[in-house]
């Protein structure tokens, strides 16, 4: 089972945000703005609905983080949040370089290093997976 965290930041008064996941229902409020659920791996449907505080300054910022891909963020202006689906892939944390979690690596490296990492990975994939036919031709010519 993987850990998925639901966080709602409420602005401008009373409000609520409900998330329906299969048989589980959670309700986030200004007094209880975050909850973590253990969910099975795979593509999961979340039905989101609720009420952003109905005042002049009302809004909600909602995030789904943890073992999901992609992570989800939404901002709702004041008023009713009509039900709609959010479909995310619940998955175990990926690790690289001998077991370091990928998200940990991404959180501690700066943008420049991240770009270098992606560039390196792209080159790696291209060299191993994209161009093997070309490589074979080149090597046969050499021979």
């Amino acid at each position: 089972m993987e850990q998925v965290t639901f966080t709602a930041a409420f602005f401008g008064g009373q409000g609520s945000l409900d998330i329906n996941v299969g048989t589980s229902n959670i309700s986030l409020t200004p007094q209880n703005p975050t909850t973590t659920l253990s969910l099975a791996e795979g593509t999961t449907v979340f039905i989101v609905s609720g009420f952003a505080p109905s005042s002049d300054h009302g809004s909600i910022r909602f995030d789904i983080t943890g073992d999901v891909s992609p992570t989800y963020s939404a901002t709702y202006p004041q008023g009713q949040i009509a039900p709609y689906p959010v479909m995310l892939f619940v998955m175990p944390e990926l690790s690289i370089a001998g077991g370091t979690p990928l998200t940990t690596v991404m959180s501690i490296i700066n943008k420049k290093t991240l770009n270098q990492f992606v560039k390196g990975l792209k080159l790696h994939l291209e060299s191993q997976l994209l161009q093997p036919v070309v490589k074979t031709k080149k090597s046969s010519k050499t021979k």
């Binding site: 930041a9 409420f10 602005f11 401008g12 008064g13 009373q14 409000g15 609520s16 329906n20 299969g22 200004p30 795979g42 593509t43 449907v45 039905i47 609905s49 009420f51 505080p53 109905s54 005042s55 002049d56 300054h57 009302g58 809004s59 891909s69 992609p70 939404a74 901002t75 202006p77 004041q78 008023g79 009713q80 009509a82 039900p83 709609y84 689906p85 959010v86 479909m87 995310l88 892939f89 998955m91 175990p92 990926l94 690790s95 690289i96 370089a97 001998g98 990928l102 991404m106 992606v118 990975l121 792209k122 790696h124 994939l125 291209e126 191993q128 997976l129 994209l130 093997p132 036919v133």
Partner: protein, 482 residues
Amino acid sequence: MKKFFLLCFCLLVACGSAFAQSDSIMKAAIVKGEEKKSMNRQQILTTGFQALGKNLTSDDKGLELRTSFFSLLFQDSLKKFRSNNYLKHSALRNINFIIGGGIDKSSKINAFSVGLSYNLLNLRDPSEVSLDNKLKGDKDYQARSRKLEAALAKVSNNYKDQQIKFLEGKLTAFAKASTKLKDTAGLWEKVTKLLPDGLVDKIWKDPKILVMYKAFADAVGSHSIDRAFDITKYLDKDQETVFFKFAGFLTSNFFADQMGEAIRTFSVEASKPKGNLKNTNKNLRDADYNAFISELNKEIADPQLNIKTAAEVYRKQQEDYDEQIRKIIQRPLLTLGYVYKYNSFGVFHQHIPSLAFLQGLSGGAKKPWELTLTLSDTIGTNLKDNRGGLGRQVGNIELGLNKVLFKGSDDVSLLEMKLSAEENLVLLGRFTDEKKDQFFCGLTFQGRFSSKSPWLKFAMKYNKDAKFLGFLDITLNLEKAK
């Protein structure tokens, strides 16, 4: 008078700074809230920052700036508007600070005023009300909610299952072709061609996608495992499981997320009277979107609940919600105020305590009637004769009926009419030939071209002695979303 300008400047800077901290979405929400109120309500208590030009066609013009104390709080907007902090400062939101000045016919400043007003009945503030609990008592609303959520869950699950099955089939076919060639030549290109064109660049922004692809490619091909990308959790599984998971991963990251956002847009548009229900997402095929909506409509149709389409349910839910809000903002409002006014002529110092009462008369009606009752007592002292005591006292009572005549498509009031009866009573310090009491009948029209434009107010008053009198005011809400 220099102090007056200094105070106006400070007030403008303070309000400007407070709003400069807000992010654009929250700012838009704040402005929207103020725009939706009737002008009648905004004149008595504002939650934003308001400028009012008074009697613009007469020789005795005035300027008034009004704001709530909460708007003047110097706090980071994320902290300031956070619900717990916002609810804690309820009193500050209910106090208005007023500052004003008068200009005579030769454009010289001849008066200065400063004051406060406080909302004694905090019943109209929807921020204090949990709408969730309110609507839970409505059986029809709840039944439609359950139906809608169940239908959305079923259709969404069907959609993602079909999408995963389709992608899994494609990935398996690619793998079989690759196995025949004994390498993964062209595999990458084949996979990327499955994805929506507009989202292919997303691959290079999320290392997770690349790592997942690597797991898939390693399961397909005969490459040795590269320990730099340790994905043993996936490689331990059989090939079919890896394909299924990669198909699920691609579905969530490239298809289902787009469908989810498209349905969110649909839900918002369907809640409006004339919303655009067509697919506006370029990364989602119209055929997929239309099939989803069609299946949703079939799933939700219920003769018992009198439901035919999903759009109809969204609209009904929104109407119920709007009605609840209208009921709340029709509740009574009672403010107690005090204004000190300095005049450079006549009665120099004036102290004006006042009470204003507002009560909606139409429940949750879209274009409500409102009852207004204001009482004020202008107590003047004259510095010239150095008495210090009461020089003149004038009481005023006004009873009015305000009606919203026209609303815009975004449910904001655009035209209002007010009928009023007013009595002025000179209790002390009558001028020569001045009557002790004067009665006026009034008719006021106030309107604006859109929710973004200033309010124009034209008031006509009739008195049997003073004939017709006309006044033109202009009110501008200074917060604008950028």
